[in-house]
Symmetry: C2
Subunit: 233 residues, 2 copies
């Protein structure tokens, strides 16, 4: 019997690592990507490329988030820069209301309907932007909701919500990904969604920290630099 898993997939470093991890654990993977009006929509292109590299189908689902609710979906807002890793800070404006709750709910629905036993999410609560829906206590509560609120849950075979990167540092994730052969060159993390990573938003900063502390070069940054040199030459 093949075991199936739905992967919450964004085209970023974490979810790409999770996809390759789930594959190694023997799951037949069904990544789903959400088009929710994010300004860095180029992550969807990255997601498709990585799925192709991993030889899995990739589903893109449109989800109606209110545009004005976050600097990540409002093109007139500014993405906060230079904040990653500061000790005392509030939840940043890139917070999208209830995003992971919506994504996980849709993933569970999809999982139940295709008979998948697990949903994987690349959430991380170590090197992260303090989003409440990335914290372990949220996952505990959400799992309980699924157990009591779904058919499979009431039948004792609840869809498992797996967040294998939750307690890892970004460096540990990067090392794991290299060991799994994740094509990091194809991933996209920058919130700004420009032609190249900005290097200053939270997402770029945590990514850079991960590669630095893992003692590896970021293949995406290397490729961008190469292209830049070629462009000038």
């Amino acid at each position: 019997m093949v075991k199936k898993a739905v992967i919450l997939f964004s085209g970023g470093l974490d979810s790409a690592t999770v996809l390759y991890l789930a594959q190694r654990e023997g799951y037949r993977c069904r990544p789903i990507v959400f088009d929710y009006g994010q300004r860095h929509r180029r992550e969807i292109i990255s997601a498709r490329r990585i799925a192709r590299a991993a030889d899995v189908p990739c589903e893109v689902l449109k989800v109606p988030f209110p545009r004005k609710s976050s600097s990540l979906t409002d093109p007139t807002a500014r993405i906060p820069l230079g904040n990653a890793g500061k000790k005392t800070r509030a939840i940043p404006s890139t917070y999208v209301p209830a995003r992971n709750i919506v994504f996980l709910s849709l993933a569970v629905s999809f999982a139940e309907s295709i008979g998948a036993e697990a949903v994987f999410i690349g959430a991380n609560a170590v090197d992260f932007s303090d989003y409440p829906d990335c914290r372990p206590m949220f996952y505990t509560a959400f799992r309980r909701t699924i157990v009591v609120g779904t058919k499979s849950g009431t039948e004792g075979r609840s869809v498992k919500i797996l967040a294998p990167l939750l307690y890892k540092t970004k460096a540990e994730i990067v090392k794991l990904g290299f060991a799994l052969g994740v094509p990091y060159r194809l991933t996209w993390s920058c919130y700004q969604g420009g032609r190249r990573p900005c290097g200053r938003c939270d997402s770029c900063a945590f990514r850079a920290k991960g590669f630095r502390e893992a003692g590896r070069a970021d293949p995406l940054v290397v490729a961008a630099a190469m292209n830049g040199r070629r462009g000038r030459g």
Copy 2:
């Protein structure tokens, strides 16, 4: 300060009653209706009419549910008939995987982004089809998820999830609705989505039971009968 509420709104008897109840309680209401590929899509037309009658804007959001996951979304499947109220029965094929979890999550996202303090849902755990996401224990779990998984929740002002009909019989709901002036003639409950209510699906059966036990005629059925007589005459 105006208090705002998002209403999970289907155009059916329960959610129309909840809309009018929330209005009476002084909320400025923002009903949202989901277009999720349900075969009874005419409930969306009903929803718009009721919203107009209640003088509130009505948002229709498309949500990507897998079609094959339920007899409610798969036009080639059969809607089960004649089962309502049976003592021992399984969750029927009209169950849509994680539907209320998805709907509530999106409603909470919408509520957070417009600064609404509550989400109302017309869920009922007395005269209902045994859907797991209509049971009180599900709401307890979901509330906890919102408290720990959202920005407003972590700031101590969590969006309230209100299910005022949860413990009422259908007859009590009908009586409440008449007292509130709900235009039941405009509502739609039948799962089959034909020109007239089929009278045999779970949803029609529970509705009929409610009006019967409340000692009232169902204005929708009366109107359909009048039209039929006129058509034949």
